[in-house]
C-alpha cells in the first residue's frame, strides 16, 4: 500500500503554507501585543 502522489503533493503544499502562515501569525501577534503594550 502506497501513499498516493496526490497525497504527497497535498501534504507538502499544506506543510509549506502552514509554515508560512505561522510566520505571518507570529508577526501579527507581536504587532497586536505592541499596540496593547503587552509584549513583556
Amino acid at each position: 500500500m502506497m501513499f498516493s502522489r496526490d497525497f504527497f503533493t497535498f501534504l507538502v503544499a499544506a506543510a509549506l503554507v502552514l509554515t508560512g502562515a505561522g510566520a505571518v501569525t507570529l508577526i501579527a501577534l507581536w504587532i497586536r501585543d505592541m499596540i496593547k503594550g503587552k509584549v513583556w
Partner: protein, 484 residues
C-alpha cells in the same frame, strides 16, 4: 567524494558566523538591561505576552535536529518518517493545559524541581534532579556537537571553532540577559526558521517536478512511499512519547510557563504546537526529491543542505546556514538558562544556601551558566562520535516522568510512591529495553511501565494532596517590582 565538500565557500561561512554572533550578543545585552531581579533574570518578570511566548516555545523546540534530521528521516523512512517526526508537536500541544495549571497552582514557583519537591517530597525530587540535569546536559552537548559538525559541513569551518563559537555566543548573551535575552532572540530566530524553511521549500518545489520525484521513488525507493514501512510504524509512538516526556519534565518549558503572563501560557503552547507541526514536513520533503534531481547522497545527515544548495545555489546554502544557526542558538540558550535555573534554585538555594539574597543568587546563576558552558565545551571538544547517542538514554527516563507529572498536577490521589517507583522502574526497564530490544522501544516502554505503576499506586492510595502546599512563598525575593 566520500564526504560532501562544503556547500558554502569558507569565506561566506566565516562572515555569516561573525555577523550573526555579534548581532546576537548585542541583542542579548540590550534586552538584558530589563533583568534587574532574580525573577527578571530567570523568569523575564513573569509577564511575557502571547507573541513572544508562542515564539519562544516554538523556536526552542525547533533544534538543529528538526532542520537537519527531518530531511534525514524523510530520506530513510519516507513519508511516514516525516509524519512521525511531526508528532513531536504533541508534546507542545499537551503541555498547554499543564502550563495553565502550573501557573495557577504555583504563582511564585521557579522551576520544575520546585513542583516535584513540594508535590512528592525529597527522594522523588532528588531522582528527578538527576534525570533532569542528565537530560539537560546531554542535550546541551548534543547541540554543541551538532553545531560544530554542521558549520563544518556547511562551510568548512573547523569543528572546534564552530562548536566553540556557538557555545560562547550563547553563554555570553544568556549571561547578560537571562530569560529576557533568550526569549527575545527566540522571537527573531523563530521567524528566521519559518521563513527560511518556506524559501528553501518553495525553491525546491518550483525546481523539482513532483511527478518525476514520485515516479523515481516508486521505481528506486518504493518503501519511502509505503504505508507499511515497519521501521516507521514502530517508531511513531516512541518518538511521540520521547517528545512528550522531554517537554513535560524539562525546566526549559516549566520556566516559560512561569514566565508568561496569566492567561497566555495555554494559548502560547497550543499555537506553538500548531506552528511546529508542519515544520518537519516542510523541511524534510526536499530529501525525497534528491533522486529525481540526480543528486547523489553520500551521508544522509547532509541531504537537506545538499538539496538546498543544489537547487538554490549560494543563496540556498546561506539560508540553510542562517536557519541552522538560529535553530542551534535558540535551543542552546534555553538549555543554558533552564538548566542553570534548576541548579541555582534547586541545588544552590534549596540545598546549599537557603538564605541567599538576590545578589548572591544572581552571582551564583552567572557562575553556573559559565560553568555549564565550560563543561559542555570540554566534553564536546574531543568529538566523541557516539556521544550524541547518549542523549537517547534519556528517552526512557523522561518517558517515565510523563505520568508522575501529569497526574501530579491533576490528581489529588497521585502520590509519592507512585511517582518515585514510576520514574525508577520506567527508567530501568526502559533502559533495559533500549539495549535488549532496540532504541525504538525505549521511551515507549519507559512511559508504559511508569504509567502502570502510577495507576496502581494511585488506586490503592487513600491520601489526598492539598494543592495549597504548592503555593510556596519567597519573602526574601519579593522586593523589587519588575518594570513593564
Amino acid at each position: 567524494m566520500e564526504h560532501q565538500s562544503a556547500v558554502l565557500p569558507a569565506s561566506y561561512g566565516w562572515v555569516l558566523l561573525a555577523i550573526l554572533s555579534v548581532i546576537w550578543i548585542l541583542l542579548g545585552m540590550y534586552w538584558g538591561r530589563r533583568a534587574k531581579s532574580v525573577e527578571g533574570f530567570m523568569l523575564a518578570g513573569r509577564n511575557v505576552g502571547l507573541a513572544l511566548g508562542t515564539a519562544t516555545a516554538m523556536a526552542t523546540w525547533v533544534t538543529s535536529n528538526t532542520t537537519m534530521l527531518a530531511p534525514q528521516f524523510a530520506y530513510e523512512l519516507g513519508i511516514w518518517g516525516m509524519i512521525a517526526y511531526s508528532t513531536a508537536a504533541f508534546g507542545l500541544l499537551l503541555f498547554a493545559p499543564l502550563a495553565k495549571r502550573i501557573r495557577a497552582l504555583m504563582p511564585k514557583g521557579f522551576t520544575s524541581g520546585d513542583f516535584i519537591r513540594l508535590r512528592y517530597g525529597k527522594s522523588t525530587w532528588h531522582l528527578f534532579l538527576v534525570i533532569s540535569i542528565f537530560y539537560g546536559f546531554t542535550w546541551l552537548i548534543s547541540m554543541g556537537m551538532a553545531g560544530g559538525i554542521l558549520l563544518n559541513a556547511l562551510a568548512g569551518i573547523p569543528y572546534e571553532v564552530g562548536m566553540s563559537v556557538i557555545l560562547l555566543v550563547c553563554v555570553v548573551y544568556t549571561l547578560f540577559g537571562g530569560l529576557f535575552a533568550v526569549i527575545g532572540t527566540d522571537y527573531i530566530q523563530s521567524l528566521i526558521i519559518l521563513i527560511g524553511i518556506v524559501i528553501v521549500g518553495a525553491g525546491v518545489l518550483s525546481y523539482a517536478d513532483f511527478d518525476t520525484s514520485y515516479t523515481h521513488l516508486v521505481d528506486e525507493r518504493p518503501m519511502l512511499i509505503s504505508v507499511m514501512l515497519p521501521a516507521a510504524i514502530m517508531a511513531i509512538f516512541n518518538n511521540l512519547l520521547f517528545g512528550v516526556g522531554e517537554i513535560f519534565h524539562s525546566n526549559v518549558w516549566w520556566s516559560r510557563a512561569f514566565a508568561m503572563r496569566r492567561g497566555v501560557g495555554k494559548k502560547a503552547y497550543l499555537l506553538a504546537g500548531f506552528f511546529w507541526l508542519p515544520v518537519p514536513i516542510a523541511a524534510g520533503f526536499i530529501a525525497l526529491t534528491s533522486g529525481a534531481l540526480g543528486i547523489n547522497v553520500t551521508s544522509p545527515d547532509m541531504v537537506g543542505p545538499l538539496v538546498a544548495a543544489n537547487v538554490l545555489g549560494k543563496i540556498g546554502a546561506m539560508v540553510v546556514f542562517v536557519v541552522a544557526f538560529a535553530s542551534l542558538a535558540s535551543s542552546v540558550d534555553s538549555l543554558l538558562a533552564a538548566t542553570s535555573d534548576l541548579i541555582t534554585e534547586d541545588i544552590y538555594r534549596k540545598l546549599i544556601n537557603p538564605k541567599a539574597s538576590q545578589e548572591t543568587l544572581r552571582k551564583a546563576s552567572a557562575y553556573i551558566i559559565v560553568g555549564l558552558g565550560l563543561a559542555a565545551w570540554l566534553v564536546c571538544l574531543p568529538r566523541v562520535g557516539t556521544l550524541a547517542t547518549v542523549l537517547f538514554f534519556a528517552g526512557p527516563m523522561v518517558g517515565a516522568c510523563i505520568w508522575p507529572i501529569a497526574t501530579g498536577l491533576f490528581w489529588k490521589k497521585a502520590n509519592t510512591r507512585g511517582a518515585l517507583w514510576g520514574m525508577l522502574s520506567g527508567s530501568v526497564v526502559g533502559l533495559f529495553a533500549y539495549f535488549e530490544l532496540g532504541w525504538y522501544t525505549a521511551s515507549l516502554i519507559g512511559a508504559a511501565v511508569s504509567m502502570v505503576v502510577v495507576l496502581i499506586a494511585t488506586a490503592v492510595s487513600r491520601h489526598e494532596f492539598d494543592w495549597r502546599r504548592l503555593d510556596e512563598k519567597h519573602p526574601e525575593l519579593e522586593g523589587r517590582v519588575e518594570s513593564r
